[in-house]
């Protein structure tokens, strides 16, 4: 199997969007373009309101990803776990499609007898270890998130620790919303070093609007920009985005 690139958006938020396009529609758009959207809902103490919860789940489902609602304390463990699980899930999808091509029928790993699954799993494991990964982290910095931002930063360092232990390369980019002037603001462009974040992160100011939809839209186009740049300098295109996941 060829090596390719996995693309993920990781949205970290604590509630509801209230401005701009429907974030669920934007997540569906991302999925169509081969980008998985994972969502982590951060809680203070109390539970998240029903509406917020439904939005978190809705975005992840539409974006072909995973959602998880956690207390700020568990953020580090969750961020790395969700990212890894989503990778496995996507790769499983890729391998399942390859299986279908080879076997010519509608077969996925779960349809294989248990004895045969092990080999497929080894391929998925191998891919998860070696595949190139691009993660765009989208952080809600509206009012209520302010107190949680130090924890978010810690969780992102932890994420880079986990991902950098893989053999494959990683690229990270970080956006926050709402931005100072616009709906969303880029605070870190594509880089293999998520640690570069430390200098920019503390300067954030928190505002009132929560434009989750527009933020997702911009995140998607940031992947696009990167790709056109890539084809300009003639590097490999990615393979996994071709079909929807």
């Amino acid at each position: 199997m060829r090596k390719g690139t996995l693309r993920q958006i990781l949205l970290i938020t604590d509630g509801c969007s209230n401005h701009g396009e429907d974030p669920i529609a934007m997540a569906a758009l991302a999925k169509e373009q081969g980008i998985t959207v994972n969502v982590i809902g951060v809680l203070d103490q109390d539970v998240m309101d029903e509406h917020g919860l439904r939005e978190v789940e809705g975005i992840a489902t539409a974006g072909g990803g995973i959602s998880q609602v956690v207390y700020a304390k568990q953020l580090s463990q969750t961020v790395q776990m969700v990212t890894r699980k989503a990778m496995t899930q996507t790769l499983q999808g890729v391998v399942n499609r390859e299986l279908k091509q080879i076997l010519g029928s509608n077969i996925s790993m779960e349809d294989l007898p248990p004895e045969k699954r092990g080999e497929v799993m080894e391929i998925v494991d191998e891919l998860g270890e070696t595949v190139e990964l691009e993660v765009l982290i989208l952080i809600d910095t509206s009012g209520s998130m302010k107190t949680k931002l130090p924890t978010v930063k810690e969780a992102l360092f932890d994420l880079s620790l986990s991902l950098n232990a893989r053999m494959g390369d990683n690229l990270f980019s970080v956006f926050v919303f709402p931005g100072k002037q616009e709906d969303v603001e880029k605070i870190l462009d594509w880089t293999p070093k998520l640690e570069a974040l430390s200098s920019v992160f503390p300067k954030l100011t928190s505002g009132g609007l929560t434009p989750t939809g527009p933020a997702l839209r911009q995140a998607i186009s940031h992947f696009q920009k990167k790709r056109s740049l890539r084809s300009l300098i003639g590097r490999d295109e990615s393979y996994f985005e071709e079909s929807s996941m």
């Binding site: 248990p114 092990g118 080999e119 497929v120 986990s162 991902l163």
Partner: protein, 319 residues
């Protein structure tokens, strides 16, 4: 449990006693007796089968089940009892109650006590003895090219007479050189800012040191600014740990390349024997290295041959 559908999670964690799980492929039946525990990836139950009492792990994810079964299969080929429970079956169960297929695997039921309860009951002198056993088990695992990963007291059972440790939960078990699949923050050197999450033997040895520290400080504590200094201070403040200070700090700093080295120095510390350094040791060590290198070339050759055969086999299987 972690990332999991809530309805399914609820069902998997609360399978009532008496529930009969029948595998759709191998048609074996298992009757749930009681829960043994649950965690991030599923739930484990004690069950009755034709072959007697077994432990059965159910999960929402076929991926989890398959990965763990892969590791258990590998372990069954390694000689030595301390490595994981033996694997008995793997199958899918159609759960009519929620209309879903639930993947599961069945393993040997290990009747034992978890690491900390055993020490609490039988006395602190057991701590270092069990750690010595643990180091031997890890040495074996590392020799086979693996790292246990999610090493913590909950995953170490003490069973039988004489009391012997057994490793449970192979969810974190990772090939050396890859990213550790699953870990628990408190036992993870990355969390403490003391190393990467790339699987190497020293990753497990750090967790061993943390288990020893936690055994002497039963209340869970959190990391402060300088993790290393914090752990060092705690080691010095405890009479038991102070005795092994040198060994613990080496494990924390990742200075041991092999579990056997840590075991040897721990034994020495038990007998108040300061590890000998300098002239006496170096010649014998050099010799050892030379021997090892020619051995390594042989091993590499065998590994390459096996890999080629395996690739051919895989190719044939998939077609």
């Amino acid at each position: 449990m972690g990332v999991m559908n809530p309805i399914l999670k609820n069902r998997l964690c609360k399978l009532p006693a008496g529930t009969v799980i029948v595998g759709k492929w191998h048609k074996q039946a298992y009757k749930i007796v009681k829960p043994l525990g649950n965690g991030a990836n599923g739930a484990v139950y004690l069950a009755e089968s034709k072959k007697g009492l077994v432990a059965i792990k159910v999960s929402d994810s076929s991926t989890t089940i398959t990965s763990e079964v892969n590791v258990l299969k590998r372990f069954s080929k390694v000689q030595g009892a301390a490595l994981g429970p033996s694997l008995l079956d793997m199958d899918d169960w159609w759960d009519q109650k929620i209309n879903r297929t639930i993947p599961f695997y069945v393993m040997e039921y290990i009747k034992g006590e978890d690491f900390f309860s055993f020490i609490r009951k039988r006395g602190k002198e057991w701590l270092v003895i069990l750690v010595l056993q643990l180091l031997s088990a890890l040495e074996q695992l590392h020799e086979e090219g693996w790292v246990f990963g999610d090493l913590k007291p909950e995953n170490v059972l003490v069973a039988g007479n004489p009391p012997t440790i057994r490793l449970l939960d192979v969810g974190g078990t990772t090939l050396q050189g890859r990213a550790v699949k699953e870990f628990t923050e408190f036992y993870d050197r990355g969390y403490w800012g003391l190393g990467s999450r790339k699987a190497d033997p020293a990753y497990d040895l750090f967790a061993v040191a943390m288990m020893m520290i936690h055994a002497c400080y039963p209340t869970k504590f959190e990391r402060k600014e300088n993790g290393r200094k914090q752990l060092f201070t705690m080691i010095q403040a405890d009479a038991t740990l102070r005795k092994y200070e040198h060994v613990l700090m080496k494990a924390i700093d990742g200075s041991y390349v092999r579990a056997m080295d840590m075991k040897r120095e721990l034994v020495a510390a038990i007998h108040h024997d300061v590890p000998r350094a300098g002239i006496k040791q170096s010649p014998s060590r050099k010799q050892h290295h030379k021997k090892k290198r020619s051995g390594m070339i042989e091993t590499a050759f065998i590994v390459v041959t096996l890999l080629c055969m395996y690739a051919l086999y895989l190719y044939g299987q998939i077609l």
